[in-house]
Symmetry: C2
Subunit: 349 residues, 2 copies
């Protein structure tokens, strides 16, 4: 066992504060990682505040992790000490079911183990995440960070990035695709960058003109103001794919109408019931509304490799671990472009 | 011009009654058809009663038409007098847009022309449907009825059949697919037959045990009672594809939960807003809800050929034209297994 230090919460109303805890001794297939950077995902705040009613305290959030290997278990072949690696939202799964076999570990039939607030498959202990100096993770759930990728900015790829990447790949977005991205936050800004890098013609669909201009800098070719009825009518039936990153209940029908023949809108943000979707809008143009959640390990590695090759990096605002409560507050007010990343060197300060 | 006789309505509250009207003189690409049989679709009643607010009176319904060619226009190459042919929900489209080029004439960008209550692209006159002894249709919108197909039962393929066929094909249902069919009416019974003939393992999903038994006779391997919470829970995540033929607003979430990884539910009945769909259910298993409406001409011909080859025929109750008002009443009470077909010989009686 190794003593780890980090930041965690002890109740739904407590602020994040320093915490000391144990990381498990290495199992044969484990990799020990010194964490260099950890991204701050909106779900970290939800989990810390017990918004989903399932938080076990103390809770150490963080599932956008990059760092360096400090030790490996006896059977680990894929990594060696010193390697730059990354860990996302998953740290274990059964590895035996069809989903795991297909590299869709997030859908493990026995339930995957979340990076924090998950339950260790062997001991039943609660997992602690990346707001910490150190983590121990089963090798299959560790990705290689290509040398070309600037590790200071790579962390948000592990959740915000892969959440957008999985549906873009599933629905074959590429050269010639007309893609709309709805919502410009941590997810949306990666959606714009990744879709553009895949060769798609990207339109930012937003209520806010200034966000449109921001999206252009990230790679959007067009801006469509969803409050502009004329522009929305003119854009009807014109999109192949819409990435809908709105994180709350909303009326998706106006976006549905934008889809052309066999067009697909993928929901990656709203975990709750949507406003009633109109069956007739689905039938017209044989449209579809799909969902997608994070991604499997092969896709995550593919994303990291793609981003290295195409020099795609999330837009990050670097913070110290000590700034985390302030960062949560600002995140609550959408005051971040587009992802906070904790520099773990600050933990030792 | 040719005098035609048939049955139509003159107001939203009038019963169907004998009507005489003109069919246009043949254009060069027209085919004149003596109608032998015409299926009775639920939308015929909706249109007759102006349920959608767009009915122009007099209205002669009917878009499941089979008959024989009696004359052809000067440029028609595909058909000759005496051929057995079929006409579905469409009688014209622009034939120039991308949708038409792709055989998706139902999505013609300039608007396809419906078989009845449509507007002729040349004269602007209202189209009259198949409750009639005779019809004139542009050759592209006429399908060949294979010799092996019993024309007495073929008519419902032209709407009920193709409405199910299009999504089954779009989503690659075939050998090994686990398919659920929700609702056992004109559409649902064709969904069961066609999915089974494509090699899928079909489950009838219904609230009514007796319908389940009926579905077994049509080719369903299993029955799932949607009122049986335990059975529904046990079937979670197990379907690849669900054909949802429920024709009214409903809660589709319990069916969504049945879909496995990348499973798709296609709505072919409910033209109205569905109950709120849960975003989290879509994200889990990367499920999708799609829509589909009738089908294009290439798909319709493919369906007729497939049904001839596999000896698939709708279950029909033959009626006389004079029985149509009674048939509408019975249809309103779901008292039909599974489609009324009008024998047009009765018109001359």
């Amino acid at each position: 066992m190794t003593k780890a230090i980090g930041y965690g919460v002890t109740s739904a109303t407590a602020p994040l504060a320093p915490i000391t805890f144990e990381r498990r001794a290495l199992r044969p297939d484990d990799v020990a990682i010194d964490i260099a950077y950890c991204g701050v995902c909106h779900s970290d705040a939800h989990q810390a505040h017990n918004d989903w009613g399932n938080t076990v305290y103390p809770c150490v959030p963080g599932h956008e992790i990059v760092g360096h290997v400090t030790a490996i278990g006896s059977s680990v072949k894929k990594f060696k000490v010193g390697d730059t690696v990354a860990v996302g939202c998953l740290v274990d799964s059964c590895m035996e079911c069809a989903a795991c076999h297909d590299g869709y570990e997030q859908g493990c039939e026995k339930g995957p183990v979340a990076t924090y607030n998950g339950k260790d498959r062997h001991t039943g202990e609660i997992t602690y995440g990346g707001y910490s100096n150190h983590i121990v993770v089963r090798d299959h759930f560790v990705c290689r960070v290509p040398e070309k990728l600037d590790i200071r900015y790579a962390a948000p790829l592990l959740c915000a990035g892969i959440t957008c990447w999985t549906p873009l790949r599933q629905w074959n977005v590429g050269k010639g695709s007309k893609v709309g991205v709805v919502g410009l936050g941590g997810l949306g800004h990666m959606g714009v960058k990744l879709a553009a890098a895949l060769g798609a013609e990207v339109t930012m669909i937003t209520t806010t003109a200034s966000k449109g201009e921001d999206a252009r800098k990230l790679g959007a070719r067009h801006v469509l103001l969803s409050t502009d009825q004329k522009a929305m009518a003119a854009a009807m039936n014109s999109f192949d794919f819409i990435l809908n990153t709105i994180p709350v209940k909303h009326n998706a029908n106006p976006y549905l109408m934008l889809l052309g023949r066999k067009g697909v809108m993928v929901i990656v943000g709203a975990l709750e019931p949507l406003e009633p979707i109109h069956g007739g809008l689905l039938m017209r143009n044989t449209r579809a509304v799909a969902g997608s959640a994070i991604g499997g390990l092969p896709d995550t590695q593919e994303l990291l490799d793609f981003c290295a090759e195409h020099n795609i990096l999330p837009e990050c605002e670097m913070i110290s671990m000590q700034d985390i409560n302030k960062a949560y507050e600002r995140m609550e007010h959408n005051d971040v472009k587009y992802r906070f990343v904790i520099d773990m060197a600050s933990l030792k300060a």
